[in-house]
Amino acid sequence: MNDSIASDPKRRELEELLPFYANGRISDADKRRVEAALAGDAELAARLDLIRDDMAETVLLNESLGAPSHNALDKLMAGIEAEPRQVPLLARAQEGSRGFLGWLGGLLAAQSPRRLAYASAAAIALIALQGVAITGLALRDGGPGFQTASAPGTRPSESYVLLSFSPEARAGEIASFFKRFDASVVDGPRANGFFKVRVGDASLSSAQVDAIAARMKGESAIVSFVAPAP
């Protein structure tokens, strides 16, 4: 089949930007060009739909890979213990970090408002999670040498879905949605605004999680994508 986009250099160039438009990592100028093209090019818009499908499945695939066991941290800390540390070059690091912060500021400024909004909404949940993790680590860090406490097993103890919210969903509706489903965000936003959401404990069967996901999907004014996640 003839690929009319591939044979047109201008459309091909825009098409190659679509994955970065979909993951939100595109400059404002390129974003405007892509959006203008999408408005009048149905074939290009269909290509974006394929990318979003593939992106959602890539996220689910990666989420299914689990996490490393505590052996990785044990090995790392054993290596650190065994290695005499050089005198730190703190001044150099500080000098480097000033430039880094400037760069980071520029990077944040380049993000889309929606992406920043997603990030802000998730920040509260992430900060709370991180606080728990840091506190746990701090409590375990007593005494000389290193000690890695038994990290939680990689077996999930809760049931999750992966979802993204409709751009039109309002904060109050989202809060009410979480209350109705007794659900909570545990991670996100991921690519394209996906959140990992806890919907119950591990006693839920996959059929029950499927049913919850299906009910959530029914709330299309609030949710644009939802699928059970490992």
Binding site: M1, D3, E16, L17, P19, F20, N23, R25, I26, A46, L50, I51, D54, M55, E57, T58, V59, L60, L61, N62, L65, A67, P68, S69, N71, A72, L73, K75, L76, M77, G79, I80, E83, P88, L89, L90, R92, A93, Q94, G96, S97, R98, G99, F100, L101, W103, L104, L107, L126, I127, A128, Q130, G131, A133, L137, A138, D141, F146, R190, A191
Partner: protein, 186 residues
């Protein structure tokens, strides 16, 4: 509550702070592990690689420069170590072994299509992409990297990033079509 930034943690690591190392490890270990695992396809090897990656960070924290984010820096180190491992074990051989194990252990795209699950079929095809293609797809779709960051992590020009991703997507579409799912492209 104040959350310490990655660069602040790296600064503390540069001064020999082990707790900062643990916090940074906890923050990034899962993503780095998944990135490596998708390349080397062996959980034990992937864990060894991430230990080595963070060991490099421990040794080089005082040389961290502002040209990239900590996350990009970690993925670039991880990528180099994973590919070095793949070269030692001969990539093709590893992929063949893995493809055989997939045939033994998991449903192929044709089988999952028969089960009427398009999402599963896409995931089955994503598993069967070449390492080059898996890598770029994962970086953009899962790790949410920009063109510039992929170029830095993989070590290729920015235009090559876009072209490689285009071909990876096209290959994915061809595999799905061969499995009976025609999405209109290619």
């Amino acid at each position: 509550m104040h959350t310490e930034s990655d660069e602040d943690l790296v600064k503390r690591i540069a001064s020999g702070d082990r707790l900062a190392m643990k916090v940074l490890f906890s923050r990034h270990q899962v993503r780095v592990y998944r990135f490596v695992l998708r390349l080397v396809r062996d959980e034990t090897l992937a864990e060894d690689v991430i230990s080595d990656v963070f060991m490099d960070l421990w040794r080089q924290a005082d040389r961290f420069e502002a040209r990239a984010s900590v996350s990009t820096w970690l993925l670039a180190i991880a990528r180099n170590k994973a590919w070095s491992l793949l070269r030692k074990r001969r990539d093709a051989e590893l992929d063949e072994d893995y493809a055989e194990s997939l045939e033994d252990d998991a449903d192929g795209p044709e089988t999952v299509l028969q089960k009427q699950d398009k999402g599963l079929a896409i995931r089955a095809c994503l598993e069967r992409l070449s390492a080059d293609h898996r890598e770029v797809i994962d970086l953009v779709y899962y790790h949410e990297t920009s063109v510039e960051e992929v170029a830095r992590i993989v070590g290729i020009p920015e235009n090559t990033v876009k072209t490689r991703l285009f071909h990876a997507r096209k290959k994915l579409g061809e595999m799905l079509k061969a499995a009976g799912i025609d999405r209109g492209w290619p």
